[in-house]
């Protein structure tokens, strides 16, 4: 198991990673989620041995890796843009780690089928599409059976449809190979698809670690809630699993009793029968819903409606609360 203790990395005076602790258990997939520039890639590179920590340790099964060079750590790394070796074909790329380890190369075909590229062995890597390149990069990293797989924004360079498809595939491959993995991403859908646990990073620190639904429902502070898409913060009271707010009531059986602070995602406010009325000031069509900006008591809130019955700009609407879009802000006890 990977243990990172008190890790700090500075770049020319700027602290990129600050006193970070995190563990990844065997067979577990942990996502490092945070906005760009929060230090998550630097943390990943420090784990790989590509950056020297200014303080703290990276250890595997209790053994400090401080003196173990990159090539002896046995960690696989997948970059955002593949970084396939241009002078080798697909097979040569996948076989690279096996050759370095002096292992037989018969696993190559098996790995290519695992990532859905059976029969691609003789292709030149420059002829592959972006998605295919990422699959080869994944197969290449998995081939030598790394004890830990590090993925640095593995899907970010792909377009959206491909990204969603590949996220599902990647999740399947990670489970099938029983890999222990640390994934860096700024996309929470990606993090929640892939990870057993999610670590939220902000300004060089890990502010929250938890299971995806836990982090989704109980962001540790307003900033984290905002990063996870819940921008409207409102006070509320919970009694007997029912939350009461200025926008009405909703059933939240998992919420703590008493006074709480809620963070609402746009999907928390839906056009329908409710106590709050407002005026639509803008609307944008999304794939399966319509996003509205609604002016309520001289402030503007985000809300959603169905595509079929979307109100026009200027229309008066009433809003109801949908429990699926509600997060409770604050540390979990």
């Amino acid at each position: 198991m990977l243990a990172v203790d008190g890790l700090t990395v500075r770049y020319r005076g700027v602290t990129a990673v600050s006193d970070v602790d995190i563990q990844v258990a065997d067979g577990e997939v942990v996502a490092l989620l945070g906005p760009s520039g929060c230090g998550k890639s630097t943390l990943l590179r420090a784990v790989a041995g590509l950056e020297r920590p200014d303080a703290g340790t990276v250890s595997w099964d209790g053994r400090d890796l401080g003196d173990v060079p990159v090539h002896k750590r046995g960690f696989g790394l997948v970059f955002q843009d593949g970084q396939l070796f241009p002078h080798r074909d697909v097979r040569g790329n996948v076989a690279f780690g096996l050759r370095m380890a002096g292992k037989p190369l018969d696993r190559v075909d098996e790995l290519l089928s695992l990532v859905g590229l059976a029969g691609y062995g003789a292709r030149r890597v420059t002829e592959l599409s972006g998605g295919e390149q990422q699959r080869v990069a994944l197969a290449r990293a998995l081939a030598p059976n790394p004890r830990l797989l590090l993925l640095d924004e593995p899907l970010s360079a792909l377009d959206r449809a491909l990204r969603e498809q590949l996220a599902v595939d990647l999740s399947r491959v990670l489970r099938a190979s029983g890999a222990t993995a640390l994934v860096v991403t700024h996309d929470h859908d990606e993090a929640f698809t892939l990870a057993d646990r999610v670590a939220i990073m902000s300004a060089g620190r890990i502010v929250q670690v938890g299971r995806p639904e836990e982090v989704w429902r109980r962001p540790v502070d307003a900033e984290t809630a905002h990063f996870l898409g819940a921008s409207l913060v409102v006070p509320a009271a919970v009694a007997d699993g029912v939350v009461t707010t200025e926008f009405g009531v909703a059933a939240l059986p998992w919420a703590p009793e008493g006074d709480v602070v809620l963070a609402l995602r746009p999907t928390a406010l839906v056009v329908g029968e409710g106590p709050v009325r407002g005026t639509v000031v803008a609307r944008v069509h999304r794939r399966d819903h319509v996003r509205l900006s609604v002016e309520v008591d001289s402030r503007t809130v985000d809300a959603v409606s169905g595509v079929g019955d979307a109100p026009v700009v200027g229309a008066g609407v009433s809003l109801r609360l949908d429990p699926a879009g509600i997060a409770v802000v604050g540390p979990t006890p």
Partner: protein, 533 residues
């Protein structure tokens, strides 16, 4: 060594041999000349002399004129190579490169066969002839990556083709043209063989004057003072070139394929001019071959047969074939040495840039390795004569001095060809290899060497022809019995006798054939560019 500063120690260790070589075989001799120049009362006298300033004036004037000719002739060819997708562009690329790698004596002699009177026009044309390739290829390199859509935008906004070129394209190319022109100016100002062969007794530049004062007048302090003047001027030009090069990175770059197309309308006129330039470049080459085959009794191979002997009434101490053998041996040694030093230096520079070492250190080292390219070979050769006595093993009179001096000239070329390729390899490619279990040494073997292999081969070939044709330093250092082919050619044309002339032209033709063969090889390797000058 695990991390943080990967290979800082290794990088510095790799830098040691090339740096040591640079210090012993370049900085020390040049410093000795500067000292000799400053110590004697030579400097004052030389600087006060009107002759000196006439010399400087002629050196600068002919170099400026030749640079102007090279730029004017090179730009249409650059357009042809960068912006058109015509059949035969591969041949044009190779054809313009041939003059650049021809030995200076060969060019000098080719122009002498065309313009037997010699003189200023011949000197300027010959120097320009050499350097059309520098302008054409380096400007084309930038031009082919310049986004064509800016020009399209200007055309849509109503600018004529000419107006578009002047107000959109030219400003983007100006740094590349400036940089190429400063290099050409440097080459022309320090050109030795051409001026020596075409100037007769009448015209000389700083470079030839240094040679004459040392070898014929034995006026060492005077020569040293002139060298000092030249080093200062060269340094100034290098700094100007470095400044223009620094500004060059700003142009927006695109892939090549999108910018080349069939010429349209007035562009054909430019293409025609480019073809005319290339045709003119082939004239001296053809004249040389013709001259080598024409004897007083009509066509014949007398010159080639004479290579077996030592010239008219024994003008030489070696036969032509012995000189050719000397040339091949010295150039081989020089190339091998330059490859080792150049690879080490490039590896050191690339590895240093990857560590957290200060960028200033990398730049300073890079500039230091380039210095020999700027300082004239004659100065270096002269410097060897006054310093290397101090080294053990009687190096000054040894035949190993020639390859050492040639390696000094060739090493910067190897670095300039290898370094851009090594730098263009994404560092994460190496990191990917490392995480897959490749040790630092294995990363070099698996990633850097395969990816830079063609460039290394091209650098070896290019370095080999440059060493083969090196004249300035070699003519100082080669002893009569270890004379190389260029030195022998220089000696033959200085002696009377039609047989000597015949033999010189034949030797030149042979050198040229070797050069053309090597250029063809370089072009076959399809390396992106011959260095980033």
């Amino acid at each position: 060594m695990a991390h943080g500063r990967p290979g800082l120690t290794g990088a510095l260790l790799a830098a040691l041999p090339p740096l040591g070589f640079l210090v012993v075989f370049f900085l020390w001799p040049v410093a000795a000349i500067i000292r000799l120049g400053l110590l004697g009362d030579g400097v004052g006298a030389v600087l006060a002399s009107a002759d000196t300033w006439g010399l400087v004036g002629f050196t600068v004037g002919q170099a400026a004129a030749a640079t102007a000719v090279a730029v004017v002739a090179g730009l249409p060819v650059a357009f042809l190579l960068a912006r058109t997708s015509l059949r035969g562009n591969g041949f044009i690329r190779a054809a313009v490169l041939v003059p650049f790698v021809l030995p200076t004596v060969v060019v000098g002699l080719a122009f002498r066969s065309l313009l037997p009177e010699g003189g200023v026009v011949a000197i300027v044309l010959a120097n320009a002839f050499f350097n059309v390739a520098v302008v054409a290829r380096s400007v084309a390199g930038v031009w082919s990556h310049v986004d064509r859509r800016a020009e399209d935008a200007a055309r849509v906004l109503g600018a004529s083709r000419l107006r578009t070129f002047l107000s959109v394209t030219l400003p983007v190319l100006r740094p590349a043209i400036g940089s190429a022109a400063s290099v050409v100016f440097l080459f022309c100002a320090t050109s030795f063989g051409v001026v020596l062969l075409l100037g007769g007794g009448e015209y000389s530049t700083l470079e030839t004057e240094i040679y004459l004062r040392t070898v014929q007048l034995l006026d060492l302090p005077g020569a040293a003072a002139l060298s000092l003047l030249q080093v200062a001027a060269v340094f100034a030009v290098l700094v100007i070139g470095a400044v223009t090069r620094r500004r060059q990175a700003a142009a927006r770059m695109r892939g090549t394929a999108e910018t080349a197309r069939r010429p349209v309308g007035g562009e054909w006129a430019v293409v025609a001019v480019a073809y005319a330039v290339v045709a003119l470049l082939l004239v001296p080459i053809a004249a040389l071959v013709v001259r080598s085959l024409s004897t007083v009794d009509g066509w014949g191979l007398a010159g080639y047969r004479a290579l077996a002997g030592t010239g008219y009434r024994g003008s030489l101490q070696v036969s032509g074939w012995e000189a050719a053998e000397n040339s091949l041996r010295a150039a081989t040694d020089a190339t091998l040495l330059a490859l080792v030093l150049g690879v080490l230096a490039s590896v050191a520079l690339v590895s240093l840039a990857r560590t957290k070492a200060r960028p200033g250190l990398v730049d300073a080292l890079d500039t230091a390795f380039m210095l020999p390219l700027g300082v004239s070979a004659v100065t270096v050769g002269f410097g060897y004569l006054i310093t290397l006595d101090a080294l053990p093993g009687d190096l000054r009179t040894s035949a190993t001095l020639v390859p050492l001096a040639q390696a000094l000239v060739v090493t910067p070329l190897v670095i300039r060809m290898l370094l851009p390729v090594l730098r263009s390899i994404d560092d994460r490619l190496r990191q990917a290899a490392a995480t897959l279990g490749a040790s630092p040494w294995r990363v070099w073997r698996e990633i850097d060497i395969p990816l830079a292999g063609r460039s290394l081969l091209a650098a070896a070939a290019f370095g080999y022809v440059v060493a083969l044709g090196e004249f300035g330093a070699t003519s100082f250092l080669a002893r009569p019995d270890s004379a190389t082919l260029p030195v022998v050619i220089g000696r033959l044309v200085a002696r009377p006798g039609e047989l000597n002339n015949q033999m010189a032209y034949a030797a030149c033709t042979l050198l040229m054939l070797v050069t053309i063969a090597v250029v063809a090889l370089i072009e076959r390797l399809r390396v992106a560019s011959v260095g980033e000058f």
